[in-house]
Symmetry: D2
Subunit: 153 residues, 4 copies
């Protein structure tokens, strides 16, 4: 199943996504980079780092979630109108394999955009010795929030 094609409502969606991403201090803590922003699809990459690990030296499932949630959130945000802020309502993550690798690639795509509620899917890949492996999948529901002073972008 190919992801559907979407038309962004804000022509400056790429800048808007980058500006919001840059305000997420958590992304700096992760060492994460916004690798690609397309309408309804966002890619985030990060290197393995000891500071993000669980007890076996793998990336902590929650850290994988952090990057994947941002990938999904910004995939949704890329399709929202300029005045919308985005909040995650819920997500579910399945950890398919230990998050072991040199680099990680997190892909979030919109599968159903909506005025208020948007549904996304995320896929996390570990890159190890040049080989890429699917390590986690996420289902994620976002809400567009309007007109709240303390929640912008």
């Amino acid at each position: 199943m190919n992801p559907p094609t979407f038309e962004p409502r804000d022509p400056d969606y790429i800048e808007r996504v980058h500006a919001s991403f840059n305000r997420q201090a958590a992304m700096r803590t992760l060492g994460a980079t916004l690798a690609a922003v397309r309408p309804g699809q966002v890619e985030i990459t990060l290197p393995w780092a000891e500071a993000l690990t669980q007890q076996h030296g793998f990336l902590h499932a929650g850290m994988v979630s952090t990057a994947l949630d941002s990938a999904c959130g910004y995939a949704g945000f890329s399709l929202m109108p300029v005045e919308a802020a985005v909040l995650t309502i819920e997500f579910k993550i399945n950890l398919l394999a230990p998050a072991k690798g040199e680099h990680f690639r997190m892909v979030g795509i919109v599968i159903k955009p909506g005025r208020t509620v948007t549904v996304c899917e995320g896929h996390a890949y570990a890159i190890d010795g040049g080989k890429e492996k699917l390590i986690a999948t996420m289902g994620c529901t976002l809400m567009a929030v309007f007109g709240r002073d303390n929640i912008q972008g």
Copy 2:
């Protein structure tokens, strides 16, 4: 519904949980403390920190997940035999309110222990001005892993 009472299989479960928690570098990144370890119930606390925030200054949903996943994981681990390691199979988190507060309290409890598969629930609370508020709930499935050299504790 009261959480059921459990009998730990390893009498030294408290030390075992602390030892594994201390090996999670991600918990140091979060500034997290293991506040309570009981059979099938674990509590983790952390202060708000800029490094953990999303674009609105709230704790990133993924960072809430990281602490809550560890609380659930160690709740399950507390009931496992001494030779078991614990991995998260999946979790789902519902964000009920923005993670806004001075401190956060993450509570994980086992609702169904099993030889291989254990199911937990997590509740995240924000403490702000002395008042505690439920901000997230998690459902989490864990797997006990045995005899893998690179996955211990």
Copy 3:
């Protein structure tokens, strides 16, 4: 954690929940009864029936979901204004034990009501030989829908 207490916005919420429940043909297929309706809390009961089983003779996980989703949905609906219709955005169910028993009791409670989005939790119990056992837990997100001609109640 005790469920919070809620004030219904529609004084006739009990009748409204019953009327909508009675329009769910799926509930008749399940042999389900609306056993209790309180503000933000709904209970549905049903007997075991061969027509609802999977290959081992237990209630099919999907049939447990059907009753539990309705319990959660009507818990949310009980707090909504009179002009709202309710739709499920998503739910997650953990099957803790095979759905084996003479009767089943499904309890849905609201943990976070909202103008648009409401979050609920569900618990499914099997009653066998007079003993009740927790067999499944659900986390569920609902949406209040307004002003759509084909979606009422």
Copy 4:
């Protein structure tokens, strides 16, 4: 992302899946047919039926779940050894659009098989006037069960 290709461990997996499906009385209640069985991929079809509806005349989310859970369960079962039985540990479903249509097609695929734990994804489609629309996605975790007398197939 293309689904991976799998080698079934039981050469008679098609018959085994059909035999188990035929023992699910819930599938008869749904009017469901096993439309395709491939290694790690199963398709179930069913017509709209009043007996399966919620209050707005759409298929009840739980009934969609029932068919989708069976599609995922049998996708996993198709790869299991002959002596395994299959149980659903948990699933999560996102309802993307009302389940409105003449026919429904439920596709379950394995994304990560395992000796004990298998992870699947499901997609539900509504067919209306010859057009197919994605209405729900599922993430599902299965467990292979061995040597329990009352849980076979």
